[in-house]
């Protein structure tokens, strides 16, 4: 009789064979997707908000910017950063009016301007992505606008709705979104800023706060009916925003998702009973007009974008910087975008698996964690970063760009020792500025990924100056064509002049002790804090580290109880105003709850800021910015710290991965060669099978003698 093969053996064999096809064994994606035009990347933290009225962080914009289309965007290649139309037909130019409503010329003094009107014309024919909120029957009645909770049996996600629809984008969709920014229940982070600028915005917010409505649908209806004085539709495709006085930076806000159009149908659809209980909400399922739409949203695992079939179309830019012509980045000029069909972002919280997946070819691009930095990058004799031989052999390319951000060490200007306007305190701050060796800090703690700051404005932003004209003369001197940090001797002399010879207070005879407010969570922080302590010790200052959690740290800064701290800022828009306002007196953290964490106030600086913020870029504005920077350097409310550099890697099959630190919607420009990727993945990830046989053999080597010993022992006799 033939012996029957055990079922488990067949199953194990089938399982083994299933992994022996064309795909590699460690491929985390379905084998059918190996040659699809899909971009693979990762994210470390799940987005909190995908509602464009609420979202205000980079990890959320990585998705939102591909889905929503505000009126404007940043040019992909041109520098300095330039605004170009996105859903608008052109970049709007403000028109100025006085209090009587009479039009004023463009060069009128800002004080005479009562209001600025921005007329935004949008491109006709733009359609929203397919979405059930638009689904309607033959008579135009919405299919899913009057559903009850009981109708949602079996519905757990947006894709469970059978019907979808679309409609054309109109000016009213932008107006509706601007009104949403004022809705108190949405907690838009820019509601406070916009109430200072958009006419009637604050009044609308107050009216909505006092709304007594029953249920969310009624609230949305009230929002639809509400009027905002400073935002009006002119016709189906154009609308006007009236801004108080003059606010040239307003145009930058029009490039952020806050001002992306939102259809009221989406709000009504998501507000229906039973939707929130199923987590089918706008904050989870965006509705946009952009090149991509969110097809899968499981931020605990994966988020996927699919090409929006209703996308209105756009072309790859045809102009760039002179170096772009030779780099090949303009090779796709004029071609329709987006190039990529699908983008899959996997949740990857830990650096090690993320880095290894990139090396295995399962992510198309990657950042570089500190742990992997030495494996990926080496610094050459000219202090320039270059890829290691291993990376080059794998065809990996490195991109670097200075970010429009800064990290600085701030002095609390309200503090009697380090703060204030006295010459003594100013000299002390300057001495510390010299002692804080940020070149070393960048080298040790940022793997060289930073540029020492000479002032508050990063490179690439109007107002920044390079070369000798751009150095901070209180901390650096220009020698042999480069800035050289002033000597410690000079810093000690400053200490003496300040009344702290050798770090001892001449008046009290006691050693100077300064408190440093720190957020420290791990052993890495200890090394950093020790380094900072040593910098102060160079001047004889005892630095007392007051470590705490981030909440308490923020509280100390808000209350002005700290002395010295580190802080940073990431630009909203590429304008010097967005950095200099961090030192503007009326923005003081303690008194005005603003973003001026140092509580610095200098009347001349504030006066110049008031003038500068209204000005167009040009020599006159540059002169004022120069003077403001000079004042700030003189007063030294910050040790200027550094501007971080972004390092990113991408594989040879990914094209057009050009760094643009202001634009978030760059996925549409990227192009892939999926065939090359599939071939290289196979080559790099050939399964190594000998360990399986080795382990099997080892088990046999152990088990057979053991079994033999068991038998022998059982057969043995006591005597």
């Amino acid at each position: 009789m033939r012996e029957k093969t055990p079922w488990w053996l067949l199953a194990a064999l089938a399982l083994l064979l299933s992994g022996c096809g064309d795909s590699t064994w460690n491929d985390p994606y379905p084998s059918a997707d190996a040659t699809r035009n899909t971009y693979y990347s990762s994210f470390a933290e799940r987005p909190k908000h995908l509602d464009p009225a609420r979202s205000y962080s980079a990890n959320e914009y990585a998705f939102l910017a591909q889905i929503y289309e505000p009126p404007l965007q940043y040019h992909f290649l041109l520098r300095p950063y330039q605004l170009v139309p996105l859903s608008a037909a052109e970049v709007p130019a403000p028109r100025y009016f006085d209090a009587s409503g009479a039009a004023l010329p463009d060069d009128v003094a800002p004080g005479e301007i009562d209001r600025s009107d921005y007329v935004i014309r949008i491109q006709p024919g733009i359609r929203f992505q397919p979405h059930p909120a638009f689904a309607s029957d033959d008579e135009g009645r919405y299919l899913y606008h009057a559903i009850e909770s009981s109708d949602l049996a079996g519905v757990n996600q947006l894709a469970d709705f059978d019907q979808v629809g679309t409609r054309e984008l109109t000016a009213e969709d932008y107006i509706y979104q601007i009104k949403r920014l004022a809705a108190p229940w949405l907690h838009s982070p820019i509601a406070g800023v916009m109430s200072q600028h958009i006419r009637g915005f604050g009044e609308l917010a107050e009216a909505l706060a006092g709304l007594e409505t029953d249920g969310e649908l009624a609230r949305i209806q009230a929002l639809r009916e509400a009027r905002i004085q400073g935002v009006q539709a002119l016709d189906r495709y154009s609308f006007k925003i009236t801004v108080e006085s003059k606010y040239p930076q307003f145009v930058y806000w029009l490039a952020m998702p806050f001002f992306a159009p939102l259809p009221w149908e989406a709000d009504v659809f998501y507000a229906q009973p039973g939707m929130a209980e199923r987590n089918i909400v706008l904050d989870w399922y965006p509705v946009g007009t952009g090149p991509y739409m969110l097809s899968e949203n499981n931020p605990n695992l994966r988020m996927a974008l699919e090409r929006n079939p209703n996308f209105h179309g756009e072309r790859y830019p045809s102009e760039g910087m002179p170096e772009d012509a030779v780099s090949g980045i303009l090779a796709d000029a004029g071609k329709p975008i987006p190039f990529i069909d699908r983008a899959v972002y996997s949740l990857e919280k830990e650096d090690i698996p993320r880095w290894n997946k990139f090396l295995q070819g399962y992510y198309d691009s990657s950042g570089i964690s500190s742990d992997a930095f030495d494996q990926a990058v080496q610094i050459d004799a000219q202090d320039q970063p270059m890829l290691t031989a291993d990376m080059r052999a794998q065809g990996i390319e490195l991109l670097t760009a200075v970010q429009p951000s800064n990290f600085y060490m701030g002095f609390n200007m309200l503090d009697p020792v380090v703060g204030g306007d006295s010459q003594r305190a100013r000299l002390l701050r300057r001495a510390i500025s010299i002692a804080m060796d940020y070149e070393e800090f960048i080298s040790i703690f940022a793997n060289g990924r930073g540029l020492v700051a000479q002032g508050p404005i990063p490179p690439g932003i109007f107002g920044h100056r390079d070369g000798e004209a751009g150095i901070n003369p209180f901390v650096y001197e220009w020698r042999d064509g480069r800035p050289v940090r002033r000597s410690l001797e000079e810093a000690r002399t400053l200490m003496e002049q300040a009344g702290y010879p050798g770090g001892v207070d001449r008046e009290s005879g006691r050693g100077l002790s300064i408190n440093y407010e720190a957020v420290a969570t791990g052993p890495d922080d200890r090394a950093r804090l020790n380094w900072i302590r040593k910098q102060f010790a160079k001047l004889g200052i005892e630095l007392v580290i007051r470590s705490t959690d981030y909440n308490r740290f923020q509280e100390k800064i808000r209350n002005g109880t700290g002395q010295v701290f580190m802080w940073g800022w990431n630009a909203d828009y590429p304008d010097p105003e967005n950095f200099l306002f961090l030192l503007y007196g009326p923005n003081g953290k303690v008194e005005h709850q603003g973003e001026n964490a140092s509580n610095y106030a200098n009347p001349e600086f504030d006066r110049l800021f008031d003038a500068m913020k209204f000005m167009e870029d040009g020599p006159q504005r540059q002169a004022i910015v120069d003077r403001m920077v000079e004042i700030a350097r003189t007063d030294a409310p910050w040790v200027w710290g550094f501007f971080p550099k972004a390092f990113s890697l991408h594989h040879q099959w990914l094209h057009n991965a050009h760094p643009n630190e202001m634009a978030n919607n760059t996925l549409k420009y990227r192009r892939l060669d999926p065939q090359q990727r599939a071939e290289l993945r196979r080559e790099w990830n050939e399964p190594v099978l000998w360990p399986i046989w080795a382990i099997g053999g080892l088990i046999l080597l152990l088990v057979i003698p053991a079994l033999w010993m068991v038998r022998r022992r059982e057969r043995s006799t006591a005597l």
């Binding site: 820019i190 989870w284 919280k349 909203d572 709850q593 050939e686 068991v710």
Partner: protein
């Protein structure tokens, strides 16, 4: 037994209130409602008005534990503690601070946690018991001594080492399994191999040592000597007598952790990118989402109590001499 179980359930109520209170106090010692508002509203351009509005909308504008402004019972009920805790006893977890339904999220995320925890438990149990019996069979020989040294070494090594080592060897060096990730349904199997192997190997040291001790304790008893005197083989004695009699402490250890399998593993899920309840809890702590933290701690406490009751019941099944009164 019904009366016993009912009594244990009633005992659980003050325990759960206590757990809730301690969680509440610990959480709000570190995070104030204002901190939570700032965390959820973002770091830039947050106004005092926006913070107050967020607190009011999420019910964090009340006093924490005692309301001076209210009178009578309302001074206790019109507080954050009461309002946020009382519904938990009806297993109504409510919404997270960013508006998502916690009950729904738990129902979705418990499956990935179970997909790892159950195989790790089953395979680990089978391996550890077998290995412990093998060592006991060769007790007081070089196999026993060598195994104990190996086991002590294994239990001294951090679980993180097993995770990183496993990822390095099986995925990076040998390209046999994905280094991290997860997928839905049956597609999940290839992502489970590595965490399960790592989980089993990571548990061998402590598990086998524990079972070895149990078996050695049993093997010295009179009934074992009697069984041997009857001429039973050593294998028969071990499997039929020693193993059966050692089941009570084994059950104590196993049944009590069964309900907790739902809760997932914090480190494993984080390193392998498994979207389970362990990473759900960690994320909630780092996002200062008190709604999720209190729900998960409450659920953990309930499951632990449930595990203890199940353990008591299982005694009566395994050992007929045990009666619950």
């Amino acid at each position: 037994m019904s009366a016993y179980i009912l009594r244990r359930i009633l005992y659980a109520i003050p325990i759960l209130i206590g757990v809730n209170l301690i969680t509440f106090l610990l959480f709000f010692v570190v995070n104030s409602p204002e901190d939570m508002a700032r965390m959820h509203l973002g770091q830039k351009r947050v106004t005092t008005e926006a913070i107050q509005a967020w607190k009011a909308e999420h019910g964090y504008d009340r006093p924490l534990l005692y309301n001076d402004a209210a009178s009578g019972l309302a001074s206790l009920t019109d507080t954050i503690f009461f309002q946020k805790s009382v519904k938990l006893f009806a297993f109504q977890f409510g919404s997270s601070d960013d508006g998502r339904d916690i009950g729904y999220d738990i129902s979705q995320r418990m499956w990935p946690s179970l997909a790892i925890a159950v195989p790790v438990l089953m395979v680990g149990l089978a391996f550890n018991i077998s290995y412990a019996l093998f060592i006991v069979f060769f007790r007081a020989t070089y196999i026993d001594i060598g195994s104990v040294v190996l086991l002590v070494a294994m239990l001294s090594i951090s679980s993180l080492f097993y995770i990183i080592g496993g990822q390095f060897l099986l995925s990076k060096a040998f390209h046999l399994v994905p280094i991290s990730g997860y997928d839905q349904g049956l597609n999940a199997w290839k992502f489970l191999i590595l965490p399960v192997i790592v989980g089993v190997i990571g548990g061998i040291g402590s598990g086998t040592r524990w079972y070895r001790s149990l078996f050695l304790e049993e093997i010295a008893k009179d009934y074992v000597r009697t069984a041997r005197a009857k001429g039973l083989s050593e294998r028969f004695v071990l499997f039929r007598h020693v193993l059966r009699n050692a089941l009570i402490p084994i059950l104590t250890g196993v049944v009590v952790v069964l309900p907790l399998l739902f809760m997932g593993s914090l480190i494993t899920e984080s390193f392998f990118g498994i979207p389970g309840l362990g990473s759900y809890t960690i994320d909630a702590i780092s996002n200062q989402d008190f709604a999720i933290v209190r729900s998960m701690v409450f659920l953990g406490a309930v499951l632990y109590i449930l595990g203890l009751i199940l353990t008591d019941i299982s005694y009566t099944v395994v050992d007929p001499r045990v009666r619950l009164q």
